[in-house]
């Protein structure tokens, strides 16, 4: 399946910059994403991948650059703003409240409310059972706080939270880091399914093979800068690896600086 990139992109992040204490964590990086497309973000540890997408999810305020959604410039000042634009994020740290159960975490910040204005725990648990039945049918621990869950179970709660609210733009920061092979395969299938529904996905992953398999394009970062964006069908695993390690696009002279 090829992606139609003739229209306006779903998201465009143009010339994004941010620095922490004088260090440029992200320096003039531009990436974009079309409907139904999966764009991989690659780079070594500390390259700035998480920081880049946190500017899209409202966790960080950029010091420079502009974000467009459907071609319109948008201001994302908080996670709430991002959620209103149907941007959902699975954070690398999962961002779950350990002391609450799966349902409370899934609906955190967007609780279902009964007619009397109280949080409707029973309804939220029912919805959680439904979506978990789809994502992770073995999941049973609905009454336990998520601190009592395994890494993979926690991951499936975080994924369920992002998927449940009809995301149009989904950010997945190492979604399979804590998962076994079977669960990793389920996430891969989920990505295919969401892609078919026209959702755009930014996928951060250290596994080059997974990126080759799941992504349509890949953007590689090094030391806060964008090395380049390539079409996956045009490159090999080795091309991507050398981009990550050497910081050069394939065909570029590795010595030129």
């Amino acid at each position: 399946m090829t992606i139609d990139r003739s229209g306006t992109p779903l998201v465009e992040m143009r010339n994004m910059s941010i620095s922490f204490g004088g260090i440029n964590a992200v320096d003039d990086v531009s990436v974009d994403l079309y409907p139904g497309e999966v764009v991989g973000l690659l780079g070594h540890n500390g390259a700035g991948k998480s920081t880049l997408i946190k500017m899209l999810s409202g966790a960080y305020k950029p010091s420079g650059g502009q974000i467009f959604v459907d071609g319109n410039p948008v201001q994302i000042h908080s996670p709430r703003d991002a959620r209103e634009l149907n941007i959902e994020t699975i954070y690398q740290t999962l961002a779950l409240a350990d002391n609450l159960d799966a349902a409370s975490n899934l609906f955190l910040g967007r609780e279902l409310i009964s007619p009397l204005g109280f949080v409707d725990d029973a309804a939220m648990e029912a919805e959680t059972r439904k979506i978990m039945g789809r994502l992770n049918p073995n999941f049973r621990k609905f009454a336990a706080p998520v601190s009592a869950l395994s890494g993979g179970q926690r991951q499936s709660v975080a994924i369920a939270r992002a998927v449940y609210f009809n995301a149009r733009i989904l950010i997945m920061d190492e979604p399979t880091a804590a998962l076994g092979p079977h669960e990793t395969q389920m996430v891969a299938e989920l990505i295919q399914q969401l892609k078919a529904e026209g959702i755009g996905i930014f996928l951060i992953d250290h596994d080059v093979h997974a990126v080759m398999e799941l992504c349509d394009r890949a953007s590689v970062m090094k030391n806060g800068k964008l090395v380049g964006t390539v079409d996956i069908p045009d490159v090999t695993d080795d091309d991507l690896l050398s981009m990550i390690i050497l910081g050069k696009k394939p065909g570029e002279d590795a010595n030129a600086d």
Binding site: G109, V119, E125
Partner: protein, 429 residues
Amino acid sequence: MSDASQATTQTKRSFVQSLELDMRLMGMIGAFILIAVAFNFITGGNFLSPRNIFNLTIQTVSVAIMATGMVFVIVTRHIDLSVGAVLAICSAIMAMTQARWLPGLGIDLGSPLIAPIAILIGLAVGTLIGAFNGWLIGYQGIPAFIVTLGGFLIWRYAGWYLTQGQTIAPLNETFILFGGSEGTLGEALSWVVGILAAIAAVYGVWAARQSRIRHEFPTKPLWAEFSLAGIAVVAILGFVATLNAYSIPKGKLRRMFEARGEVMPDGFTQGHGLPISVLILILVAVVMTIVARKTRLGRYIFATGGNPDAAELSGINTRLLTVKVFAIMGFLCALSAVVAQARLQSHANDIGTLDELRVIAAAVIGGTALSGGAGTIYGAILGALIMQSLTSGMGMVGVDSPLQNIVVGAVLVFAVWIDIQYRKRTGIK
């Protein structure tokens, strides 16, 4: 251990399990019963006399009210060392309002307007001070420990300047009704309240079950639901019966009749019944429990305590939340000031001294984790009751007050140690 006894422990466990009782709560109730029975034995039945239970309850109210607010403060990983001082300044302002300022405006101390105006002003001041603390903590980033340590020194002595250090008395008659023994519902009304509460408890159990059935979730066995509801009903009605059994002294009754221009019939007796202050505490407990469990505010308080970053990333405004939590704390300090001042029937500058420590200890004994994210309203109230029982029990037995403090301090540390052991065993964070 023989096979037979092992079998019994196993059935016992499944019995307790099917009740799905909160083990921590059971532990606290067990500790409380142990303390009460021990003191009752030593004092030859005086500790559990209706009269002492009545006094114990009204002495607990002020600290218990504040302890419910302290639960929210500690759950969000903060602390409030200023509650005794905030209580003092609210008390000073309410005393000055009723005894000096309003009379200065031509509304004399006997006017029916005095109590409501004084109370409203007090509650407003408490809420504002709390909100201001919350703003300094949430928006200015000053640690709660520092802000409220400052407040600990500031507010009590701000109150001192208002009253010039004088003790203010007498207070308005209506105002004094909120203190305890002067303002009780009497026997009949107490039964009405008790029966309504019992019906509410049964309805609560039933509604929770219906909701689980509606969503096809697993439910407890019927007999377990019946036992739970039964225990609640017996506890509520037993409490009312005990307070009703404490008769109003003859002299006071006669004066009450005289005030109405009647003559007291021979042999007339009347029980105290529920004190208004206890009714206020029950109301606070119910409202705070609903806030904690059933509202977004409560959900966000616990989420923020469990993982502040996750809360922030979920779109929760944790700064504003801090302001709200401390505003609630301030409001409850003012409410406690009403009860404490009315009970003492005067305002003195040392009112509420050391209350910050009692309140924090009550919340912590009640299972509120200082690491944040965990705590219950009923736990804090039970914690306050346990502390007050220890203090009054030791007083009745004749333990001198330095030793009393040593025991209370040791109990605090011991309770937290038990709690840590319990969490380790059960794997709860």
